[in-house]
Symmetry: C2
Subunit: 114 residues, 2 copies
DNA sequence: TGTCTACATATAGACAGCCTACATGTAGAC
DNA sequence: GTCTACATGTAGGCTGTCTATATGTAGACA
């Protein structure tokens, strides 16, 4: 997967995996991999800064925990984050629709043709 | 449209509008706008450098022409460009599928079921 | 005559986010 | 004693998109 392609969609991905339950960074990475059937292999150097960014903007809050002797920072969606996710979802729809209509050879001709 | 979202998809867009017929930069911008229903408003500062990049990599060739007293640089797809476009199209499929499977809460859900 | 808009191309520099590479540390297996 | 999995984090690089600016023709309009 071309790294540039992820640009601008990372937030949506992170918010989305955190929608159902709070998770820590490492688990988020695994969740992304699993949910995408292995296609999404996001490096830690991308995820951790992105999570902090989302916390800074108030879409996430984090909490430290120690499990099995290891420290985890668990992130949870805020109301603002939930709202943001909604926006990201419709932005995604608009985005794929726009690109798709250019890329797609146009077999999608709506019923009321010219 | 978030500018970052376009990252890594610009080439596909340009190649795609040039698939049917050669066009010059200005016309390409208009074509992108038209084909996307107005959603894609790509500035000249994005398109012209991108076209030159694609020419440098051999996916396009250009030719100068003067029409109505104005100089146009018309771009045309090469065989390499056509092949590249194919790749971009399947990459786009893979990309939307991957992101969609994370983002989409399951539009797979049949409308009737609980 | 002068001004404005549409047409047409181009570059410089800013910006931002994703990546590679590296640093740090625990736990458990072998 | 070493290796792997788990777990977090930062620094710096890269690169493509954007904004702003420059240049120039053609035609409308006053």
């Amino acid at each position: 997967m071309n790294p540039d392609a992820l640009r601008g969609h990372m937030d949506a991905l992170l918010l989305s995996v955190l929608e159902r339950e709070p998770l820590h960074g490492y688990a988020i990475i695994e969740a992304l991999q699993e949910r995408s059937g292995g296609a999404l292999n996001v490096p830690t150097g991308t995820v951790y800064p992105a999570l902090r960014r989302l916390e800074r903007t108030g879409h996430l809050v984090s909490e430290w925990a120690t499990v099995g002797g290891r420290r985890r920072r668990t992130y949870r969606l805020t109301d603002s984050g939930r709202k943001q996710l909604e926006g990201e979802r419709s932005a995604w729809q608009a985005f794929t629709s726009a690109i798709g209509s250019v890329l797609g050879p146009g077999e999608v001709r709506p019923s009321g043709s010219a």
